[in-house]
């Protein structure tokens, strides 16, 4: 790894967090109803939101 390379934590930190939130959302909505349906959808929406944020804010 050269000096300019980012550490794995920086490379995979955000994708890993998004993946964990998505999985919690997917399973939470399956295991419970009511509030978990909304919370599950919100957690899964983080992945779509992150993509939208990056496409809008991280263009260069």
């Amino acid at each position: 790894m050269s000096r300019e390379d980012l550490p794995y934590r920086a490379i995979f930190g955000a994708p890993l967090a998004i993946a964990v939130l998505s999985l919690v959302g997917l399973l939470g909505a399956l295991l419970d109803d009511g509030a978990w349906d909304a919370l599950g959808a919100a957690l899964l929406a983080v992945s779509v939101g992150a993509a939208a944020w990056a496409l809008a804010m991280r263009r260069r």
Partner: protein
């Protein structure tokens, strides 16, 4: 990562993607309307309808007779029950007809007359079958399962390759001012990595769903085998005991559970000798898990309550996790958005491969 290792992962990613991309695009495109199949069926099949009579209900034997009288020669396979109207759905099969071809009849339980269907519009059935087996039956299902495994391989290798590509770029960077190939590589990496968890869940559960036929066959051949050992020949249609009494007996065996459907003797979900009466629980999780009570079709006696083994439970839970129909409309809308993003990832991957080939040819 060493150059050789990188090349190996790159080879795996390229070929697992190339082999499966067209089929995955078909699955994503047909899957998009299927996410909203309930809503689309409601619009396409909408008819004002009221039951013929209030209060009075035919027993299940009468309903079955009414259905079979409209389909002479048909052999009953399944019976299911609408939740919000007094309608019983009878599925029968023509013994001389093509395998897998069923007749589906919704019957008004108050009169025995036909009721309008609320699901299964021909356009949606066409899409569902294309999505499930490409009209090729079990070989088609297993082939699509293999394509699902290719997808999982492509996703895993894509995650491995993400690190070397992103080692100098902060998360989410899109080099929009660069040439098209670089720009689309960034779109591909970004959209691919944010949807990894969802794609893996939908992909793996899709693979499990393609194994439904062998899973159910294995369950019948193992867990239910002892129940059939005492019999020589399948129970004849005319030798069957009352269906209504069988369902009542099953209800007594599984109090508090919700009746879901009945599989008739000889159908995919039962033995040659039993009515398999399936119930589900009433919690969000157990609503997706079924337990059958097997009623001897000759005597009407309870033969067994047979909780399904782990692999049948896995199959049951794979269905909602694949179709996204368990968390209301917001979850369905997200399913559609993520499906759309996956289409972009697949198409951009194909574009990147073609652009690279063109560049290599020109060099």
């Amino acid at each position: 990562m060493r150059t050789r290792t990188l090349r190996a992962w790159s080879w795996v990613h390229k070929w697992s993607s190339l082999v499966s991309t067209l089929f995955l695009l078909m699955l994503c495109l047909t899957g998009l309307p299927l996410v909203f199949s309930h809503e689309i069926d409601e619009v396409l099949l909408h008819q004002d309808w009221k039951p013929a009579a209030e209060g009075r209900q035919l027993n299940l034997d009468q309903v079955l007779d009414a259905a079979l009288s409209r389909h002479p020669g048909g052999v009953p396979a399944f019976m299911s029950f609408d939740e919000d109207r007094p309608v019983v759905n009878v599925t029968s099969v023509d013994p001389g007809g093509p395998a897998g071809q069923y007749t589906f009849q919704p019957i008004d339980r108050t009169s025995g007359d036909p009721a309008p269907p609320v699901a299964g519009h021909p356009a949606m059935e066409f899409l569902l079958q294309l999505h499930t087996d490409m009209f090729l039956g079990l070989p088609g299902m297993l082939f699509l399962g293999l394509m699902g495994l290719m997808l999982v391989t492509a996703v895993v290798s894509g995650v491995v390759l993400y690190a070397p590509f992103m080692r100098r770029l902060p998360f989410g960077t899109v080099r929009a001012s660069k040439k098209a190939r670089t720009r689309w590589l960034d779109y591909h990496n970004l959209l691919g990595v944010v949807t990894v968890a969802w794609v893996l869940v939908v992909g793996v559960t899709g693979v499990v769903n393609t194994l439904a036929v062998p899973i159910i066959a294995y369950w019948k051949d193992t867990a239910l085998k002892e129940l059939t050992a005492a019999y020589d020949a399948p129970v004849a249609l005319t030798g069957r005991s009352s269906l209504d009494a069988a369902v009542r007996r099953a209800r007594e065996a599984l109090p508090g559970m919700q009746l879901q459907f009945v599989a008739f003797p000889g159908s995919d979900y039962s033995t040659e000798h039993h009515y398999a009466v399936f119930f589900h629980g009433d919690t969000p999780l157990t609503a997706h898990l079924t337990t059958p009570a097997l009623i001897d079709a000759r005597t009407g006696e309870l033969a067994a309550v047979a909780p399904t083994p782990w692999y049948v439970k896995t199959l049951s839970l794979s269905q909602p996790l694949h179709f996204g129909d368990y968390g209301g409309l917001p979850l369905k809308i997200l399913w559609a958005l993520l499906d759309g993003i996956t289409i972009v990832v697949l198409a951009s991957g194909l574009y990147l491969w073609l652009a690279r080939r063109r560049r290599e040819r020109q060099a």
